[in-house]
């Protein structure tokens, strides 16, 4: 509930429709490649071109990926599902219909938990109305060549498997919508069902939004608007924020309520930061759904569903909870680690276990490992420092064998040269200075800096800081803490003896 500056209290009501491209090698009903970026119309065959007489055959891998997602979204999986034709004319739809699922979707009535007491969005369960499989259409390109007014169609994408996930209108703010999308995307990535690349269209979001206003005549709903063309989660958040404001103003100006006008579709203009009405003609379609007689219904095998359930592995929410609980890491840190993907989270777990210091492990992974991965542009499983080796580095620091200030040098050396921590320390000449050597060094430094002795004797121990730089120049292995300790001891001894 938010209170507008002038006017009634208002609740934003949002439902999302997410189309996810499943990570199959081939299309949903033929064996054409789904690889992105090939020259136009090269990944096609009679089936996905909709040539006369060609027939679809279901890709079992797509079905299994969809099933995995449905199970992870806690969906009910009915014993039987079937295929329907959704019919409309468009040049990028070669058969004149899209094979989809209408009244018996492969899964329905699930939920996805978002938020956390310690996070920016409060914990909440968002219901999933349904998740169903369908084939993608081709791509229309209008007036793309300079000075030419033409339309071109690329059917490489036609027939690519999509999972459409529809949430209930349970989201109450653009921030919640974004949190839902982040959590869903993370889940899909953990499940390895999609690469979720929004630039390549692997993940597309449409939103339905309206406001519930508390007026003196009771709760009034504004007309539901479908918002399209949002190309990032940030865009979704901004578009919904804009749309909520726009609907509030429109209501104040027109008083229009849900049911007064037909459902409107608006397109998000990211540069202009506004939503714009699309032609109303595009909405009032009668798709004349009916069962596709070319495909047989699919019976869900309970044994297959059980196997899928077993093989799913730990999902992000559980992993985040486990890291917080078992490893003494804050929610925000756990969230950062888990959000980086299963590989990073598992890397962290090994470092934490092997080093016995989860906090340091979290710091190192979040700071040094993530930064380096970004620089090297390599996935975590190709990262040059194994989790065990990073743990060894942390142990060396903890045991005082490796000075904290030299640890980054060892890390950098391991990134470049590989090998063990011991090798790296050897190569960098890092070793513990023995006590007598350190005392000699301290005496020499103090002798050269009588003012510092005087300052310390006067109670200003911080003056010793100036010696650290000098000491490092003489011997890079100097541990600043031990240096400070020894210097204080020597000055104290000198004071008492004088």
């Amino acid at each position: 509930m938010m209170n507008a500056p002038n006017g009634p209290a208002s609740t934003t009501v949002i439902g999302l429709e997410v189309h996810v491209q499943l990570a199959t090698q081939t299309k949903l009903f033929c064996r054409c490649s789904t690889q992105f970026g090939a020259p136009s119309n090269t990944q096609t065959c009679p089936v996905c071109l909709g040539l006369p007489g060609a027939l679809p055959v279901m890709n079992r891998q797509a079905y299994l990926l969809a099933l995995r997602t449905a199970v992870a979204l806690n969906c009910h999986i009915p014993p039987l599902t079937k295929w329907d034709r959704k019919q409309y004319f468009y040049p990028d739809l070669p058969k004149g219909y899209q094979i989809s699922q209408y009244d018996l979707p492969m899964s329905e009535r699930g939920h996805l938990a978002i938020g956390d007491d310690e996070g920016p969005v409060a914990p909440k369960e968002i219901r999933i109305i349904r998740a169903h499989l369908e084939e993608d259409a081709g791509k229309s390109m209008h007036d793309e060549a300079a000075g030419r007014h033409d339309s071109r169609v690329d059917l490489n994408r036609a027939g690519t498997p999509l999972l459409e996930i529809v949430s209930a209108p349970d989201l109450r703010s653009p921030a919640e919508a974004k949190a839902f999308l982040n959590e869903l995307k993370l889940l899909l990535q953990y499940l390895e069902v999609s690469d979720c690349n929004m630039q390549e269209g692997s993940l597309r979001v449409d939103a339905n939004i309206n406001l519930h206003l508390e007026t003196s005549q009771g709760v009034v709903a504004t007309p539901i608007v479908e918002v399209k063309n949002m190309n990032s989660f940030r865009a979704v958040e901004r578009a919904l924020a804009f749309e909520a404001d726009r609907q509030f103003q429109a209501w104040q100006e027109t008083g229009q309520q849900q049911g007064d006008v037909p459902k409107q579709t608006r397109s998000w203009d990211d540069q202009g930061s506004v939503t714009r009405a699309m032609r109303s003609k595009e909405e009032s379609s009668d798709y004349r759904y009916f069962p596709d007689p070319d495909l047989v219904p699919v019976t869900h095998d309970p044994a297959v569903i059980e196997q899928v359930r077993r093989e799913i592995g730990e999902l992000p929410a559980d992993l985040r909870r486990r890291i917080c609980r078992d490893y003494d890491v804050s929610y925000n840190d756990a969230d950062v680690l888990v959000s980086q993907g299963r590989g990073i989270a598992e890397y962290f777990l090994v470092v934490a276990e092997a080093s016995g210091d989860a906090r340091q492990a979290s710091n190192w992974v979040q700071r040094d490992v993530l930064r380096t991965i970004k620089e090297l542009k390599c996935p975590i499983d190709e990262f040059p420092i194994t989790a065990k080796e990073l743990a060894a580095l942390l142990v060396n620091v903890k045991q005082g064998k490796l000075d904290r200030s030299r640890a980054p040098d060892v890390f950098a050396h391991l990134v470049q040269q590989g090998g063990t921590v011991a090798d790296a320390m050897g190569a960098l000449g890092i070793e513990r200075i023995d006590d007598s050597l350190l005392d000699d060094l301290c005496r020499a430094l103090l002798a050269a800096n009588p003012k510092i002795i005087a300052d310390v004797q006067a109670g200003n121990t911080k003056a010793l800081g100036a010696l650290i730089g000098q000491a490092k120049k003489l011997n890079p292995n100097v541990d600043p803490n031990r240096l400070r300790e020894r210097c204080l001891a020597l000055i104290a001894a000198r004071t008492s003896s004088s």
Partner: protein
């Protein structure tokens, strides 16, 4: 011809050749042949050359048969007379003023005229059996799923089935054995083994229980057809068959059910012919500017009407499809529309289930159903072309087999006083083609209707292999 030479050459070299090597076959022009036009009898696909063979063509080639040509049909198999072809009507070899039936009229006429020993047809509501009956030959509609539909241009996908036409039941068995079987490219083809039909067909069945459905001898059945079919029943009785009266109470809804389901599927299957990717595209103005100009000069408001794209669709489909195809597209589109779906399509599916149940219970009592194929012998060209309803009634006895998915065969059982062939229909349980053919062959062993030749038969070339 090149195929024939290849087969001869391989034979000369002593290389193995297929089972029906070198034997000619004609194929209904709705079955895709790679590199050769497949028109479906439609202006829409006049120039369409498929880049692939239908699975049945692959199989026919594997048997080393020689594809002699493509045969005429009603446009997209919609019709019962082969008059709905964009490329002219086919005539009946027994009387050239009569239709050969349809929609596989070209295939039936070619076999009857002894141009080829075999032809492939397709049967959605009777399109193999009815022309076989009109032309005095044998035609089989196999069980739905027995023969792959891959490469068969769809009319009504849940009803369409490819089948053989030939002069004798023995020849049907030979060709069925070649074309039947599961196809991974067709999900609706059944993963059921193919029996050795050809070896089995000449074995008489030890016992026969034949059902006669009262509904097959009701109003509208021509007396000569009725007499010929009853005579055939007597022949079976003499062969030792037990004749049992049965009922198919829902068969009277067959035509109504069929003419909802088939057009619904057709309206969807034919949506792809939009002139965008292939097929006929209207040459009429369709650029946005031209459309605007056209509308302005006609005094219309350009803002109120179709986009150039919609006009292109409209022109191409208006010019590319014939009247019967348009009629069925409109019927199907209407029946699937919001607000009508439950009253028409959903209800038709329920009735279809009842029709199937009727057959299930009858086939618990008897092995086969015996009856007429069509209410009348072949009618005259032009006689029914302006009366679609009369044309639809041609399918009275045949559509229920498609709705139930069961196999059915048509064989000659007599002639009218005008000298026109009359057909006998036998229907059987799903996937019981072997015994169905055995039962039909038993009739042909003791009758000679199938040996009679029309006056227009060519001599020699098409005679029995």
């Amino acid at each position: 011809m090149q195929d024939a030479e290849t087969v001869d050459h391989r034979r000369e070299l002593g290389m193995p050749v297929g089972r029906l090597a070198g034997l000619p076959i004609a194929v209904k022009d709705i079955i895709c042949t790679r590199g050769q036009p497949t028109t479906c009898g439609s202006r829409m696909l006049e120039d369409f050359i498929p880049p692939y063979h239908a699975t049945v063509i692959e199989k026919v080639h594997a048997a080393d048969m020689v594809l002699l040509g493509k045969t005429n049909l009603d446009e997209f198999a919609m019709g019962s007379s082969t008059e709905n072809s964009a490329f002219g009507s086919t005539r009946n070899p027994w009387d050239v003023d009569r239709v050969p039936g349809g929609s596989s009229g070209g295939s039936a006429a070619a076999v009857a005229a002894r141009m080829v020993p075999w032809a492939l047809g397709t049967d959605t509501g009777g399109s193999i059996r009815q022309p076989a009956s009109f032309c005095g030959i044998a035609g089989l509609k196999p069980t739905y799923g027995r023969v792959s539909r891959y490469g068969l241009v769809a009319f009504a996908s849940s009803l369409d089935q490819i089948g053989p036409l030939a002069r004798t039941v023995d020849d049907l068995a030979l060709l069925l054995e070649v074309i039947a079987g599961h196809d991974p490219k067709d999900s609706t083809s059944a993963p059921i083994d193919v029996p050795q039909y050809a070896a089995a067909v000449s074995r008489p069945l030890p016992s026969l229980r034949l059902g006669i459905a009262r509904e097959h001898f009701g109003e509208g059945l021509h007396t000569e057809v009725s007499a010929a079919v009853r005579a055939a029943i007597d022949v079976y009785r003499d062969l030792g068959a037990e004749i049992v009266d049965v009922e198919l109470p829902h068969s009277r809804f067959g035509i109504a059910t069929y003419y909802i389901i088939a057009p619904c599927e057709a309206s969807s299957n034919l949506a792809r012919y939009d002139g965008v990717h292939y097929g006929y595209r209207s040459r009429r103005s369709s650029s946005a500017r031209e459309v605007r100009q056209e509308l302005l000069s006609a005094g219309d408001d350009p803002a109120a009407v179709d986009s150039a794209l919609v006009r292109m669709y409209r022109h191409s489909r208006s010019e590319g499809f014939g009247p019967e195809v348009k009629r069925r597209i409109m019927l199907g589109t209407y029946a699937l529309s919001a607000g009508y779906y439950d009253a028409y399509y959903a209800k038709a599916l329920k009735v279809r289930r009842r029709i199937r149940d009727d057959f299930d219970s009858v086939f618990r009592e008897v092995d086969f159903l015996l009856g007429p194929v069509t209410p009348t012998p072949a009618f005259r060209l032009g006689e029914r072309i302006d009366d679609p309803l009369a044309m639809y009634l041609e399918d009275l006895y045949t559509v229920t087999a498609n709705l139930a998915g069961i196999p059915a065969v048509s064989i000659p059982c007599g002639f009218s006083q005008d000298g026109l062939p009359i057909g006998l229909q036998l229907q059987a349980r799903p996937f019981d083609e072997q015994r169905l053919l055995q039962a039909a062959a038993m009739y042909q062993r003791v009758t000679d209707w199938h040996l009679r030749k029309p006056a227009y038969a060519s001599t020699g070339s098409g005679d029995s292999p």
